[in-house]
């Protein structure tokens, strides 16, 4: 893991809405081939940070670089093109479309056939369509639900919908995958499967993973690095053991009313 040249690097990111500070001078990085987690109490700014990285929010100042390419100011589709894919906290699949069609959306930014090629049915367009389909099926097979590809995506069991979303993100051929609470709403068995899947995404596909997760047991088990955010400020960063022992982190979690405990 080369810390000198991380895959994703945030420097001094500031975000505020109508004078309320959401992210306060955030420095943060994710190395290559790493599984990292972003944790923190509710309202700490974790999803806002995701939205800044992926171009949905525009920070007032700072720098966000992936492989030394500046992402700040790019629209979300350009960020995806640059190699960052994401899933959403509340699953957002395309309704009334099949599982396969959902996953095929991920190939859009890696293909180029336009209206004229489609109308004329050019050989290059047909080949590209076949490739898009094949790649989507591959991604579905990777997450283990290829046999459900012709079903209406929103009719799937919740756990499988989450997998469709991951397959769809993988179809964009990312360098870094951002998962926003991927375990929310899953039962113990499904969580165990998700842990395996996240490990395989890194090991077999070589994609770095950054996740936001509330299930601290899971976070401790899977992450190599953890960053703790509280009130928009990074209060700790390091290996799971270090973070767990950090007094600031314990205070942040104990100070919370609903008392989420960190092991």
């Amino acid at each position: 893991m080369s810390m000198s040249n991380p895959l994703l690097a945030l420097r001094g990111v500031n975000l505020s809405f109508a004078g309320n500070t959401v992210l306060d001078n955030v420095d943060f990085s994710v190395g290559r081939g790493v599984i990292a987690s972003l944790i923190g109490p509710n309202g700490a700014g974790k999803t806002s940070l995701f939205n800044c990285i992926t171009g949905f929010y525009k920070p007032q100042s700072g720098s966000i670089k992936v492989d030394d390419q500046e992402l700040l100011g790019l629209k979300p589709h350009r960020v995806t093109q640059a190699g960052i894919a994401r899933t959403f906290q509340n699953v957002r699949l395309f309704q009334q479309m099949t599982v396969l069609e959902n996953v095929m959306s991920g190939s859009h930014c890696r293909s180029k056939a336009g209206a004229i090629a489609a109308i004329l049915g050019l050989p290059s367009q047909r080949r590209e369509e076949a490739d898009i389909r094949a790649h989507a099926i591959e991604c579905l097979a990777f997450v283990g639900i290829a046999d459900e590809m012709d079903r209406d995506a929103t009719n799937l069991a919740y756990g499988h919908q989450r997998r469709v979303e991951i397959a769809r993100a993988l179809a964009t051929r990312p360098k870094l995958l951002l998962l926003d609470e991927p375990a929310a709403g899953l039962n113990a068995g499904e969580k165990a499967d998700l842990l395996t899947l996240i490990g395989r995404i890194r090991d077999e596909l070589g994609i770095s993973v950054l996740l936001i997760e509330h299930d601290t047991g899971m976070v401790m088990k899977i992450s190599e690095r953890i960053t703790v955010l509280d009130h928009g400020v990074v209060i700790a960063e390091g290996a799971p053991k270090e973070v767990q022992a950090n007094p600031k982190v314990i205070e942040a979690y104990l100070g919370q009313e609903d008392g989420e405990d960190l092991l």
Partner: protein, 316 residues
């Protein structure tokens, strides 16, 4: 009762589940269209020509409204720009009709695209205004012939064939409608066609998947404009005369109705819708003054019992 009726209809359509059966159905319909003028006579031919024009227009608007989900209330404007461009260039400046077609398309695209800079609800309002602006401009300019419009537009020649009888125009519109259907089908099953659906269902998720939503919507709008202006160009040479009243807000509404009635985004449904909005008022002609009332009640009933259009949603 209504339930069993609609189930019957669904079952009937479910029979056409393979590409072969669908091609066969398409061939039968096409054969019927080809012999229709001979067996039905001149009056019916003119009405059917109008229905085919509406097929082209409705399929064009379907790309904008049905696929990309952009509510366009001024679609007749593209129709008008196409018709006037051809009218002015052929009649006033003596250009060849076929050479004016690309100009008509270009003019529609250039005039129409600025309206797309807005989001959802605002877009509907702006397109509504756009439709009216185009009509009022046509009514007030000298070059467009003011309120009386342009008459005496030359019928076109194609490789020595002078297209000038209603029967000949009927067949030209059959060809146009078939091209419009093929283009729609091809687009629907393409990367761009899927992108329109992604954008319509969830714009943010589409962006997150790397889709340039602005560009994709612009493509839908441009393609809709092309369909509309080509329809308008042939409309102008078919009638030989155009006036601002041919392109009223009611015209836009009627095309939109064809799309919604048949089922947004469903090609066979949209074709059916186009035929209904043109033929129903004709079939009800004997009813005299009650004609439009009956038509309106019929539309309301369809919307009540089949809110997503007459054509059933695709199977699982």
């Amino acid at each position: 009762m209504a339930q069993t009726r609609s189930n019957l209809f669904n079952n009937l359509i479910a029979q056409f589940d393979t590409p072969w059966k669908r091609c066969a159905a398409f061939a039968v319909i096409l054969a019927l269209l080809l012999v229709a003028p001979i067996s039905l006579g001149p009056y019916a031919t003119v009405i059917l020509t109008n229905a085919l024009l509406y097929v082209v227009l409705a399929l064009g608007l379907n790309v904008v409204v049905g696929y990309a989900g952009l509510l366009d209330l001024g679609y007749a404007a593209f129709f008008a720009v196409g018709a006037y461009t051809v009218g002015i260039l052929t009649h006033t400046f003596g250009f060849n009709f076929w050479l004016t077609l690309p100009v008509a398309v270009g003019a529609a695209v250039v005039i129409g695209t600025p309206t797309l800079r807005l989001r959802s609800d605002y877009l509907a309002i702006v397109t509504l205004g756009f439709g009216e602006i185009v009509r009022f401009t046509a009514r007030n300019l000298d070059i467009t012939g003011g309120a009386s419009g342009i008459s005496g537009i030359q019928q076109p020649w194609l490789f020595g064939w002078h297209i000038n009888t209603p029967f000949e125009f009927y067949y030209v519109f059959v060809v146009l409608a078939v091209i419009a259907v093929i283009v729609s089908v091809r687009l629907q099953h393409s990367r761009l066609g899927r992108a329109w659906l992604y954008v319509r269902h969830d714009e943010d998720a589409a962006e997150a998947m790397g889709i340039d939503t602005v560009r994709v919507k612009l493509a839908a709008y441009v393609i809709g404009a092309i369909f509309g202006s080509i329809g308008g160009a042939f409309f102008a040479v078919n009638l030989g005369a155009i006036s601002p009243e041919s392109f009223s807000f009611q015209q836009s509404v009627l095309i939109l109705m064809a799309v919604i009635l048949g089922g947004m985004g469903k090609i066979p449904g949209v074709i059916l819708g186009a035929f209904i909005v043109v033929l129903a008022p004709e079939l009800l002609r004997d009813m005299g003054e009650f004609r439009l009332l009956l038509f309106a009640v019929g539309l309301l009933l369809v919307m009540l019992f089949r809110p997503s259009g007459i054509w059933p949603a695709r199977g699982k």
